[in-house]
């Protein structure tokens, strides 16, 4: 790890940033499909030949995307680089989906190999597309440096309060947009039924990590601006924690809105459902804060 911190401009650090950017884009694009049980089922019943075709098709699309955009910072991309980047995008997709599917216990040691592969490959398709689109979804700061937004003069105090309100608002909106499509579905109770204590803790940790990664760890848009601002929302760790709490409240309210949770339900059900919906909500919230 010390290698990454050695220098902001070291190639290792830069590569690390590129990867985090790719992973973040993948999560933004791929998380709704990770919460779709039909995709798990398709993955488990499909023939191996179809799986290979799926990989080939994904590779082709990602390759086309990588020739124009991609997850690295480069304006002019040669064909060979695009091919290499595409392989990396798919591998990143496979890696991240397998982490989440293991966390959801959709893939366990008891899962037959063919089924695990099917789930993994089908779920990683949108993920790989997200990785390839991550430069579009999360544009680099250098392009936005000149934005007039930054130049507005305000008193420090007003700026602070505005900043906090804006961040909470953005977290809410982003969270609602992503979680709206997941809250009314049956996946939340289904996943809640199959998880237990340690896995829920893992989910909390993963939510915080992904949320942190999306906004801060990589060299994303607005990042330097965000770190210059003062206020409790601007310290990376407290921002991540506060926005996670905001996301959890949003998730709980949405579950209640869609009648998935009732006031008469025991608190443990509330906790499980909320934590499970909390992951996509916090990913959406992080994206929302980026957009502000």
């Amino acid at each position: 790890m010390s290698v990454f911190k050695a220098s902001i401009h070291s190639p290792w650090r830069q590569e690390f940033n590129n990867l985090v950017r790719g992973i973040s884009g993948g999560f933004l694009f791929g998380i709704p499909l990770l919460y779709t049980m039909e995709v798990w089922w398709i993955g488990s019943s499909v023939e191996p030949l179809r799986l290979l075709i799926a990989i080939a098709l994904t590779f082709t699309i990602v390759l086309l995307l990588n020739q124009t955009t991609g997850f690295r910072n480069a304006s002019d991309i040669r064909f060979r680089d695009a091919v290499i980047d595409s392989i990396e995008a798919i591998a990143l997709g496979i890696f991240c989906t397998s982490c989440v599917l293991v966390l959801f216990q959709e893939i366990t040691l008891d899962t037959p190999l063919g089924e695990a592969l099917g789930k993994l490959i089908y779920e990683s398709v949108p993920f790989a597309l997200g990785v390839a689109l991550s430069n579009q979804l999360l544009r680099d700061e250098s392009e936005e440096k000149q934005q007039p937004k930054e130049n507005k003069k305000q008193t420090d105090r007003n700026k602070q309060i505005d900043g906090i309100v804006a961040d909470i608002g953005a977290t809410l909106i982003g969270g609602i947009i992503i979680a709206f499509s997941i809250a009314p579905t049956d996946e939340v109770p289904m996943l809640a039924a199959s998880t237990s204590g340690p896995w829920l803790l893992g989910l909390v940790f993963a939510s915080l990590l992904i949320s942190y990664a999306i906004v801060f760890a990589a060299n994303f848009s607005n990042q330097s601006k965000r770190q210059q601002q003062k206020g409790m929302f601007q310290d990376p760790f407290s921002e991540t924690v506060i926005s996670y709490l905001v996301s959890l409240i949003t998730a709980a309210l949405m579950l209640w809105f869609f009648d998935k949770l009732n006031l008469s339900d025991p608190w443990s059900i509330w906790l499980r459902y909320t934590l499970i919906l909390g992951l996509p909500t916090t990913v959406g919230g992080a994206a929302g804060r980026l957009a502000v």
Partner: protein, 143 residues
């Protein structure tokens, strides 16, 4: 940082045309290529090793029967020994006690892929130990 890395980095970013990839990028590529080829290799392995067998379903019940509040819980294990995936597998348990009382319990399993097992339980109000218990799979459909 070693000076060679810095050079490659400058090369790679200053031109922005990606003259060369930094060692870091090659490491990423190495890992990525390994992951992807492993996955493709495993798919091929599954494909070639696949027995084109139709579903073979079996259901067995475990010996440990739990009694709680006058109800008897009989755990069962459903296994698909064949290669194909099946949907909507119905399992029926029939109990005929020594006094001639019949009870039936039914269960539908949504999804069972090849080599997969699912567990569940049938619940009776009479003790299955004092009678004849018969478990069988009645139907399934292909996805």
């Amino acid at each position: 940082m070693n000076p060679m890395n810095m050079n490659t980095h400058t090369e790679a970013t200053q031109g922005d045309g990606k003259v060369g990839r930094s060692p870091a990028e090659w490491v990423t590529f190495g890992i990525a290529a390994t992951i992807l080829s492993t996955v493709i290799g495993l798919v091929l392995y599954v494909w070639l090793g696949q027995q084109r067998q139709p579903p073979i379903l079996s259901v067995t019940h475990e010996e440990t029967i739990r009694e709680v509040d006058g109800q008897f819980y009989v755990p069962f294990i459903l296994k698909n020994k064949g290669g194909e995936t099946v949907e909507s597998v119905r399992v029926i348990a029939e109990l005929e006690t020594n006094h001639g009382i019949k009870e039936q319990s039914e269960q539908e399993i949504d999804f069972l892929s090849g080599e997969e097992t699912q567990e569940g339980a049938f619940i009776f109000s009479k003790n299955p130990n004092n009678g004849k218990l018969n478990l069988r799979v009645t139907s399934y459909k292909l996805p």
